[in-house]
Amino acid sequence: MSNPGRILIVDDSRTIRIKLKKSVEALGHEAEAVKNGRAALDLLAAKNFDLVLLDIMMPGMDGFEVLTSLKTSSRTRDVPVIVVSGLDDEMSSVVKAIELGAEDFLPKDFELALLKARISTCIEKKRLRDVEKEYLRQVTKLTKAAATLESGRFNPSKLGIRDVAARTDGLGKLASVFATMAQKVYERERKMRQNIRTFRGALLLLACGGLWGLVVPLSKMASLVEAHPIGLAILIDLMGAAFCLGISLKRGTMPSLSALKRSDWRFVIILAFISSVVNQVLVYWLASKLPAFIVSIVIVLEGFAVFLFAALMRTEAPSMKRFLGLGLGLIGIVIILFFGEPGEMNANWLWLAIALVIPVTYATEDIYLSEFKPIAIDSVAMLGIVLVASLLMLIPLAAFYGDFIPVGLLTGRLGIIVILMAVAGNLAMLLFIALISSTGAVFASQNAYAVTAAGIGWSMLLLGEAIPALTWVSLALIVVGLLMVEPKQEAEEEPPPLDDEIEEFVPKLDLVPLPTE
């Protein structure tokens, strides 16, 4: 049987149903038989049939009613119907049935050859009609896809023309061309969006580093007036807290404190401790003991430390090249440590060794921020709360060490320096939270480059510090080392994964015909 079909037999006589079913099956078709019109309509609504052999004279719903109902439903309209009737006495019924849409008729005492011919013809016609309908359906899909492309949406998986592109005819080729075009444009757009993201990240990074770089020479300048690292931190955090909380209250982004979870409070307290109490005070304190450019250079190690932490936490695979880079950076620091500016450095090597704690605590802060920052809380509001927590820790400390800045000093040069530090430091912190949230800790830690570069620049500009030649060499070593560590590659965003549909789709693009001459 070259073209077997599924045939539904409808007859009230059981014997005739058996006869028709066996005859149809003997011809190689599949058959189901029901004894009345209602059962026939139910089955036709549930299953697909290629042909119905329908008796006219049945109790209840007769063949005409079944036929009328079939032809009014879009689902069954195209299923051909052969009415089974006696030739002798029912000619008028046959005519009526054909007028109602029956395809043909079959006498009750049919010959096998006639049954075979009628069924084959009907199924053949049905198949052709099915092909035609499918073609029209796919043309409609392609037209919709064209409209989608025209509206500027190029995601190939959203075009819904995979089945059309699988065709080997002209329509299939057209669909493939559409899909290929869409894929190319989509890829290009995706890359462009990624470049914009990277560019935006880099700008944010430079801005953040530039501002932070200003903090070290400014704190050096502040210490030149009078060194009060804890007092300085208190004033800066106070201004930052007022600014952040004010903005949050105005924007209505301030969370209700009772709504904060235990884990949120833990985050606030730990970040306040690392960021303000340890990092800030350490930097301000060391700035009073070391040249600002030296502190800035040490900060560059933050990138190494983050990488080292990331490697230890097994978030990335360590490689020999990266460890060499790490070693090179350390050599750079050792050069500064032992062969720095004679006189000044010899007295300060101990301070320098202490300064090496800064990149480690900075890196701890980076990793902690990127791993534990509560997503639900607005960044500005969160920083505000963190700064208040810092103040609560710093004030008793300042009282203990008697490190408050005398009010009288603030009216002069120191006041301006404190304001500048508060603006630069807090703004840098806000930018850094934004950066770390969107690009991750490793990428964000590269702001250490910018901090260092800006720190050296600002130190020369604001403090007139002369940088010894050997320091430039060590700085070059550190930069080369950092490049070998390649933190940026780690931080680059993964392209959004292609969904399965596209991957399945790609091989089909081979269907695209080569342009003919």
Partner: protein
């Protein structure tokens, strides 16, 4: 002979040539036939001519398949009379009953089927 053997051969060929399939059809007729006959009687008594016509129509086709041409012819007469609007005659249905009884008896004999 009430049963035309040629008609049975044709029916066997139609359902694929297997004797078992033919037997299944004959058994189905022997089972279904009496109830159709019964329908014809009761519908006639109830003067439901449409139902008499349907029963006669059904028995006519089945009888022709089984080679019971006499029965088929009588049923065709009943069907035609009802179709033309005349009431079915009890005498005609009595003829059908007799032809039916002869036919099923002969079918049982041919296929060795007990009562």
């Amino acid at each position: 002979m009430a049963i035309n053997r040629g008609a049975l051969d044709k029916l066997r060929e139609l359902v694929g040539g297997e004797e078992a399939d033919l037997l299944e059809l004959v058994e189905s007729f022997l089972e279904e036939g009496p109830s159709i006959m019964q329908d014809m009687w009761s519908s006639c008594h109830a003067s439901d001519h449409a139902a008499v016509r349907r029963a006669a129509h059904s028995l006519k086709s089945n009888a022709r398949d089984m080679g019971a041409f006499d029965l088929s012819q009588i049923c065709a007469g009943v069907e035609a009379r009802c179709a033309s609007g005349e009431p079915a005659s009890l005498a005609e249905i009595g003829d059908a009953q007799r032809a039916f009884d002869v036919a099923i008896t002969e079918l049982r004999t041919i296929f060795n089927l007990g009562k």
